[in-house]
């Protein structure tokens, strides 16, 4: 059973605020990922990490940033939220690059 957690589950925030979406996993996975998903659409990879102090941008350009100081923790930060950032953000982890990914429940972000 995969144990990957995201907080908050829902967030409504005003334009210009700084926000951090939390993602933690207890499985010791090296690989972690952030996806953005708009309603009825596919998932787009925005950031990934293959280990501590390693982060890369994904296929979809994003104004967010990530950090990986600890294996189990992969937070995503938006310095100044805008309405265009309104979306669902899904975090995932994987034990190996060629393996399946385990997903958290997601954070639904609304920027007003």
């Amino acid at each position: 059973e995969a144990d990957i957690y995201q907080t908050p589950r829902y967030l409504v925030i005003g334009t210009g605020k700084k926000i951090t979406l939390e993602c933690s996993q207890t499985m010791g996975h090296d690989k972690m990922y952030w996806y953005q998903q708009d309603p009825g659409m596919e998932l787009h990879l925005i950031h990934y990490s293959y280990g501590v102090n390693s982060t890369e941008k994904g296929d979809l350009s994003s104004e967010s940033t990530v950090s990986r100081i600890r294996t189990e923790h992969f937070p995503l930060t938006l310095e100044s939220a805008r309405p265009s950032h309104t979306s669902q953000y899904l975090c995932a982890s994987s034990p190996a690059a060629h393996s399946e990914q385990y997903f958290g429940p997601g954070t639904r972000l609304t920027v007003t």
Binding site: E42, L43, A97
Partner: protein, 117 residues
């Protein structure tokens, strides 16, 4: 670049009927293939995966999928659908070692399944 196409945006079936969800991929070699299911407001749950070997793979909840290299397809099937199967289903392809997509998943647009009683 790898890509995934799920031709059916929305499928409606009656409870007890059989189900087939289509997935076509584009990739230069045999990729890793996955089917995930997403209930409203939730993350994705892995149904099954194909890495190599037997082209018919069994998953959880009574689902199976068949990899057909000649058709670049990985269709998901279930012989008898239950009302609890109503959800959105995503096909995904993962790149193999040595490629630029290694370690990443590319998802299709998803197919929403509605089950009528």
């Amino acid at each position: 670049a790898q890509s995934v196409t799920q031709p059916d945006i929305h499928i409606t079936v009656s409870e007890g009927a059989s189900l087939e969800l289509r997935c076509n991929y584009s990739y230069g070699a045999t990729p890793y293939l996955f089917w995930y299911v997403q209930s409203p407001g939730q993350g994705l749950q892995l149904l099954l995966k194909y890495f190599s070997g037997d082209t018919l793979v069994q998953g959880i909840k009574g689902f199976e999928a068949e990899f057909k290299r000649s058709q670049s397809s990985f269709n998901l099937r279930k012989p008898s659908v239950h009302w609890s199967d109503a959800a959105e289903y995503f096909c995904a392809v993962g790149g193999v070692a040595g490629g630029t997509s290694y370690g990443k998943l590319t998802f299709g647009q998803g197919t929403i399944l509605t089950v009528h009683p």
